[in-house]
Symmetry: C2
Amino acid sequence: MEKWFLLTPGPTPVPSEVLLEMANPIIHHRTDEFKQIFKEVCEDIKYLFQTKNDVIILASSGTGAMEASISNLFNKGDKVLIIRAGKFGDRWGEIAESYELNPVYIDVEWGNPVNIDDVKFKLDENPDIKGIFTQASETSTGIKHPIKEIAELVRINENCLFIVDGITGVGVFDIKPDEWGIDVLISGSQKAFMLPPGLAFISLSEKAWEFAENSNLPKYYFDLKKERKNLKKGQTAYTPAVSLIIGLKKVLELVKKEGLENIFERNKKFAYATREAFKEIGLKIFNEKSPSEAVTAILLPESVDGQKLVKFLRDNYKISIAGGQEHLKGKIIRISHMGFISRFDLIVGVSAVEMALKEFGYKFEFGKATTKLMELLG
Amino acid sequence: MEKWFLLTPGPTPVPSEVLLEMANPIIHHRTDEFKQIFKEVCEDIKYLFQTKNDVIILASSGTGAMEASISNLFNKGDKVLIIRAGKFGDRWGEIAESYELNPVYIDVEWGNPVNIDDVKFKLDENPDIKGIFTQASETSTGIKHPIKEIAELVRINENCLFIVDGITGVGVFDIKPDEWGIDVLISGSQKAFMLPPGLAFISLSEKAWEFAENSNLPKYYFDLKKERKNLKKGQTAYTPAVSLIIGLKKVLELVKKEGLENIFERNKKFAYATREAFKEIGLKIFNEKSPSEAVTAILLPESVDGQKLVKFLRDNYKISIAGGQEHLKGKIIRISHMGFISRFDLIVGVSAVEMALKEFGYKFEFGKATTKLMELLG
């Protein structure tokens, strides 16, 4: 009889307190009771987002909020700069192309962060760029981009917005949209928010709201101006995901109780310990150059098929970790440390990978990675 | 943010499937719906008890069933033999004395099983003994008594019953009451049954039911003859613990699905691996002489205060293990491997104890116990 351990970079485990809160009887969303809860949530989520601006809550996955940030703020033919350093950078490109924007790309080798000089160069070369799109943390490779530095390049330019997919960033490490000058910041419920998938979050600067006035792209469900108007009245334009909002209320209590600084510190410690653990048994850290605190990507020895390893962990140990995506399929594994993950979940994950690597014939000093982790997390 | 890991020898973790089943709306116990469930449960529990006899289900903790086995089967002044090898052996004595039986004791040094020759000697010396009381597994010290061998001494004697407290035995390791000749077998819900506390189980042989005809000790709530009569009608004499019975139905499904043999095999493997792990870092196994598959008792180095260690694990790691009881307080720790415990729960428990021992200044090769466990459980 095995228990499941979920160590994927989304969905992440949901604390019992939150699950139980969501198991309460569903209330109707057009009631004073729900309005009160929704108002509180909309206020409290600003703490997690580190912003004074409204945070719009959508019933969709994070991709919905990504799409909204394009369909609400731009026009056909607008030139935008997209940083592509992984699968989610690609997604910015796909959405921009769907809406017939005119994207310019910086293609970064997977496993690397964008070089700030490349961004500067592209901006100088294209003064008519109206938006820069990037990830705070590229989940497919585990790297972090220099968000603060990019923001500095954009904030002086009144005609350009800085849009950050912080899906595995918000609540994981420090991102200060107001202070740094991020115009649009996006996140999703199934990451550091410790909730099931189903909610997307998006906050906009005043500059971004001005762009919204001039956008004529088609939108209906993801109409942010309409949502903002409703938010002021304590409601959403369309039926909200009631139980997830109820869960979010509890999550925000837990987050405020622990404190953002402590959460960031913990994630940093967990990410560092996980990297050091795997290095101890001779493995390379794929995201070593600019590691995100959300997820550690480990390069496997050539003799080990990562897809089989991930399947082995699922089938034999009931442990969910992620493999690689696209051309990294089979080559890396990814272990998440964001959200409701305790040091002992990581010990479980790392020990299980060691046990599996042994089964797969990789030669190493068995137990060394786990011991290192125990040493660093004790 | 830490998660709780429960590794105490009762209560033990309850699987989500069972918790969810128990979260269903309460049904009334005098309905056909409940009767149907109760009948199924009473039939299926015989598989776990390895008996063809009725298993009476009481709404009480295991101690209630221990008391019932005395108040229902004996008379004031009856001479009984009680094996005392730990806190729960003592409890047999306390109950017997409360009902003014005439107990003869075999006192075994804690950490040892009873010597079968001592039992034989006492029985020869006291041919008028009407009952022998023991534990299958003495939870306070982690040892197993030679139940099968004792049963062989008693079964030929028509005037003597063999009563076994199998609270941490039934469903943990092989106990065959019908085949071996155990007249009364007792268990409780919060051990291998993977349920919250609140139910006690007791099965009686035909010989035991005959004794019940001649007992005149006072009883009301724990009147087994009355319960047996009700059981035949698919009900209990007094209000049953409805949600626990509903949970038990689910548990019995899970147990049948895994198969008793497989469960026993797993517990044996887990107990062996846990002992070997701690020996690897120089610690002595307190129950090494006759280890129960329910719990491993580890003798701590003199420099380490076990009570403080257990508290440290709770406060700092949110890991519950048990300390020692009575004169073993502070000297041993106990880690359970029965019920809904996965190999990774044990890795969590052992790694946490290593991390704590290091904090407490014990000198050892850090990580060796966990590595050994990973090796044996891979």
